[in-house]
């Protein structure tokens, strides 16, 4: 019999708040963190809005580790420490060789890239900062989390653009199911509010000028944000044996690829991932009460996602509560699935579906119940979380009450 994988701690940081409780409180209230980007030099950029962590919390990370981290790693470490503290796991008490970390990263350390190009090309410096390589690499966040928490089991980064965090959860679930680890810190992080990254996204013409309005007929695109989310995953037996409080379960994982186009999504790919996830979790469509949509707020994504959900769920699609919390925390790329994990876990625990904020007009192509603007009370037995990505890499997770 395969191991059940449960969640015993969650942590997060994004524009909505600097811990998971604050993030959930904002989601319950339908408050959007999207606004003018401050604290970052935007130069001549047209895009001026995002969801930013305005001030970091007191984190107590020692200076020696701090100087070696780009912002995306720092956010991951802050969220991981919170999740670990809630889980009450102590390296030393638990076998640290049986504890690992998988951290999803979509864009990596562009703060360091930007600083160095500007220093070398514009300011005439002749060498790059000595930490450039270890700061920039996409695997840095996973390594830094392992160092901060003393995790010595399977540790690696997971880059798959906007579905990175869900793939990181999937990889962590596998480590536990395969018996390679008893506990895994898993989640995602990104800090893309950097001139060079915003400039590149601007070129794609998919950014909304004002705010993100998923599933609303007048939606104009996505908004980028920064943040991180992490969860402590454990085998059910391990959590029970140490008397940990179990917050929920990752009951299933469904993965697929479009194998079609680097940016344009298909309906079949997401549909297959949703179906695979339900099958892996042993859930029927009617067992699911909440779907946290990928819901980026672009014309194409929301329409195609709606079609995929209808095909996978059949008639039950109209009885599901759907929402896109990206309307509140924005699209935090590698962190998105991890912040949406917080939404799913808390929706199950509190019987409350967080809303799709900023919604204004019905779109006949997006005709599911998208929980517009106001949270809805309803018992949530199981929740699915969709993540799709450039590259056509789809990853869907099923969360269930234990």
């Amino acid at each position: 019999m395969r191991q059940r994988v449960v969640i015993t701690g969650i942590g997060g940081i994004c524009g909505l708040g600097t811990d998971a409780a604050a993030i959930w409180e904002a989601m319950r209230a339908g408050r959007s963190a999207i606004g003018p980007i401050e604290n970052v030099e935007l130069h001549e950029l047209k895009v001026r809005v995002g969801s930013q962590v305005k001030a970091l919390p007191e984190h107590g990370i020692d200076r020696k580790q701090l100087v070696s981290m780009d912002r995306f790693s720092l956010l991951a470490v802050i969220a991981a420490r919170e999740a670990m503290a809630q889980a009450g796991l102590q390296p030393g008490q638990t076998n640290e060789w049986r504890m690992g970390a998988t951290v999803g990263v979509g864009v990596c350390g562009w703060e360091a890239i930007e600083e160095n190009y500007r220093a070398l090309l514009l300011e005439g410096r002749n060498r790059a900062g000595i930490f450039t390589v270890p700061k920039v690499m996409p695997g840095a966040a996973a390594g830094q989390v392992s160092m901060a928490l003393g995790l010595r089991g399977p540790v690696f980064g997971v880059p798959s653009a906007c579905s990175s965090a869900n793939h990181a959860f999937a990889a962590a679930v596998d480590q536990i199911r395969l018996g390679r680890a008893d506990a895994m810190l898993a989640g995602g992080t990104d800090a893309p509010l950097i001139w060079g990254v915003l400039k590149a996204w601007e070129a794609l013409r998919v950014l909304a000028p004002e705010t993100c309005r998923p599933f609303s007929a007048d939606r104009q695109g996505l908004v980028l944000g920064e943040g991180a989310g992490m969860a402590v995953l454990e085998s059910y037996e391990h959590a029970r044996a140490r008397g940990a409080e179990i917050l929920g379960e990752i009951a299933g994982v469904g993965l697929s690829a479009d194998a079609s186009d680097i940016v344009a999504p298909t309906v079949e790919g997401p549909e297959a991932a949703i179906r695979a996830c339900l099958a892996d979790a042993g859930l029927n469509p009617e067992d699911v009460d909440y779907l946290n949509a990928h819901g980026t707020g672009t014309k194409a994504n929301d329409q195609i996602e709606t079609a995929a959900v209808k095909r996978a769920f059949g008639e039950h699609a109209y009885r599901l509560s759907v929402s896109s919390t990206k309307s509140m925390h924005a699209h935090c790329l590698g962190a998105s699935g991890a912040l949406e994990m917080i939404a799913c876990v808390m929706a199950i625990r509190e019987g409350l579906v967080p809303p799709t904020a900023n919604w204004r007009e019905p779109d006949p192509e997006c005709d599911l119940d998208v929980t517009p603007n106001v949270a809805r009370e309803r018992p949530v037995r199981a929740a699915l979380s969709n993540a799709f990505a450039f590259g056509g890499t789809n990853a869907v997770l099923a969360f269930r009450r234990v």
């Binding site: 200076r63 020696k64 100087v67 070696s68 000595i130 930490f131 270890p134």
Partner: protein, 85 residues
């Protein structure tokens, strides 16, 4: 023997160290500084511009040979002398 070069290196180290720590002298062990080894290497490289020297030092070799701040000062002094010669 806190000469000008030693004073400058110690000042550079202080700018990177945790404020309010113990006083840094040429006898301070590098591992006691609480500074990442890569950052210490960068402090040496920062002297390249100040003294117009090229420091050809492999990071790994540097750290296997240098034990305290004084060793760091003498290594740089050697490079400056070699340049003058």
């Amino acid at each position: 023997m806190a000469d000008e070069l030693a004073r400058q290196i110690i000042d550079n180290i202080k700018a990177h160290a945790e404020p309010g720590g113990e006083e840094i002298t040429t006898n301070t062990e590098l591992t006691a500084l609480g500074i990442h080894s890569l950052e210490l290497t960068e402090i040496i490289f920062d002297l390249e511009e100040a003294y117009g020297i090229e420091i050809e030092m492999n990071t790994v070799d540097a750290w296997s040979n240098l034990k305290n701040v004084g060793d760091m000062v003498e290594a740089v002094r050697g490079l400056i002398a070699a340049k003058k010669a």
